[in-house]
């Protein structure tokens, strides 16, 4: 066995990128009090949007903007039906994901005549990989940190931008206020639906970036169903971290590693592949159990403390 572990880590970062974006997308709506399962379908639509815009616009950047635009539009569709139409968000998201699965194939068929993938029918564009000067010459670190996709760096940056947005800006405070207690927020003059729309807009941008990464960086075409649950994984990553940006990114990274590990083990060992495919999901369940146990303990300690304080009075 002769495994290149440095490249393995670099790959895990790459594989975590769409998950980080998906987690950030889900996180912002969660902070506004909405559990958005529609991320999966939004990413799928954006992945198709990216390649279509890139092909007809003739540039990778048009594609990237197109992917973000489709993310925004799909976010607005869910927001409209849930906030203005007052539908049940879960049902809307399920319906939306089903619609995205069929609708993307339908649109692909209309535009290209293909029902499976755009590999042959739409020109491939790739978001460039960036070699960072100086850092790329550092032995081990250079191979991990340098040479990643532009979007991978943007993902890292986005984690801190989202943290800044939520903790340090007025709009972030409002989003969190609506999430904590919508009636209280409304009583001080915050428009709950407006904040909901804004959070879905941010969600759409990140879903768009996730989709663009899948169809213009990881591979350079769209294929039906190509998200394959990565949206849901991102959703559970942010859930594990309780909606904290940095924690969600770390959880996504954990999934990226689990995914990368399952691929390497598949090639290097004789474990049954079905078992290896379970690793990321097994990691999810374990991580959720651990985080919820921690949360319960914390709550119990607080309750004990208040009970004690009450007794002392």
């Amino acid at each position: 066995m002769n495994i290149d572990w440095v490249a393995f880590i670099a790959d895990a970062l790459k594989m975590a990128t769409p998950l980080v974006f998906a987690a950030l997308a889900a996180l912002i709506t969660r902070q506004a009090g909405m559990f958005n399962m529609g991320v999966e379908g939004m990413i799928l639509c954006s992945a198709l949007g990216s390649v279509v815009f890139a092909h007809f616009g003739g540039s990778v950047w048009v594609g990237l903007l197109g992917g973000i635009l489709i993310g925004l539009v799909t976010g607005m569709i869910i927001a409209f039906s849930s906030l203005t139409g007052k539908t049940d968000l879960y049902l809307t998201c399920i319906a939306f994901n089903l619609m995205a699965a069929g609708g993307t194939v339908f649109v692909m068929y209309l535009l290209t005549g293909d029902k499976s993938s755009t590999a042959g029918s739409l020109r491939s564009y790739q978001i460039p990989n960036i070699d960072i000067p100086l850092i790329k010459d550092i032995p081990v670190l250079g191979r991990i940190v340098s040479g990643q996709s532009l979007l991978t760096y943007l993902a890292v940056l986005s984690v801190f931008l989202v943290w800044f947005l939520l903790k340090k800006t007025r709009i972030g405070l409002r989003i969190r206020a609506v999430g904590e207690n919508p009636s209280a927020a409304e009583s001080v003059g915050i428009s709950v639906p407006k904040i909901g729309y804004i959070s879905f807009a941010f969600c759409g941008i990140f879903a768009g970036l996730s989709g663009a990464f899948l169809s213009m960086s990881w591979v350079t075409f769209f294929m039906k169903n190509m998200v394959n649950g990565r949206g849901y994984i991102g959703l559970s990553a942010q859930n594990m971290a309780g909606g904290a940006p940095v924690g969600s990114a770390l959880a996504s990274l954990l999934f990226g590693f689990a995914d990368s590990l399952s691929i390497t083990l598949k090639n290097q060992t004789t474990f049954p592949t079905e078992f290896l495919n379970m690793i990321p999901y097994l990691a999810t369940i374990l991580a959720i159990i651990i985080t919820s146990v921690i949360a319960i303990n914390k709550r119990r300690r607080i309750e004990k403390g208040t009970a004690k304080a009450a007794a002392e009075e």
Partner: protein
Amino acid sequence: MKKFASILLVAAMALSLVACGGGDSSSASTPAAGGSSAAASTPADKGGKGKIAYIVGNLGDKSFSDSGEAGMNILRGEGWDVKTFELGDATKADKYEDGILDALDQGYEYIVGSSTYLEIMIGLADEYPDVKFVGFDEKKDDADLPENVTCIFYAQNEGSYLVGMMAAAMSETGTVAVDVGVENPVINDFVTGYIQGVMDWNEANGTDVKVVKAAVDSWTDPAKMKQLCLDQARNNKADVFYQVAGGSGDGLFEACVESNTWAIGVDSDQYQMYKDGENPEKADVILTSMLKEVGNSFVSLFHQIEEGDTDSIWGHTITLGLAQDSVGYVDNAFFQENVPEEVRTAMADAAAKVKAGELTVKSYYDFADEAEFNAFVEAAK
């Protein structure tokens, strides 16, 4: 406003039906195939040729189902009344039987469906003794087949054997790969033939080329497939990749472009598919493709039926291999340019030997059980 949610749900379902089941209308509205639309509207002037229902998941896969459709188009041109029924992917599995019953209700005399639908067809065979059922890409003991059912089985191991020889010959690193979508008996038969081809090449030429095999466990996850292949190129030093992975295979070709290695396509001529498309430069890694001529097999089957020579058909499994030109490999200019002549000759010789019955290629169906197959795969690693 629960009503709105239900409207949305209905819209979603309608859309997914349009996307997945759109084939009925599309096949009827493409008259390119020698007047099929006219044929569908006036079955009475069919001159006695039968009505065929072609049951597929989805057209547009650029391989298996489309190859069958091409064959059906030829039959349409010859005056058969063929209608294609697209029943959707595995999530619609509960509707498969309804779809086939629908075709039966419309009076189709021949029902042609892949292995996916074989069990359902066998179940219906007794109830509809006047209808003939054709299951393709599956092997069944004759004892298990009712009198009005036939199975067409393709010897994919024979075609894979030949490309396996080529892979071994073309490898500079001494490792080649075969990456599959989801493991099942037919897919394992591809793998078996390929590994046997590599091993026989080793034995004949004194080389020691290894085979690494992996499954992505999805037909539509090209991203994971690409990663898998890059990992094999890096850690196993594999430099020739054979894809038996449906849509996921497109990821394999990208990995080959990126890692500067060779690829082998499957089912149809994938070099030509890319050359004719928007990304012709991606074709330049595909040395050849293992062909599985589903469409041709339909044409020859129905010719045989037309001639009335049906004793060997109904109630039997028909195996079609190199000898029947139902499997093979693409021999195009790119192949001739890049594969040395002695390798090409060796492949042609082996093909001739298989055709003549002098050489038998190992098949997955020869293994006693799964463990024996796994040991075979492991021994090649």
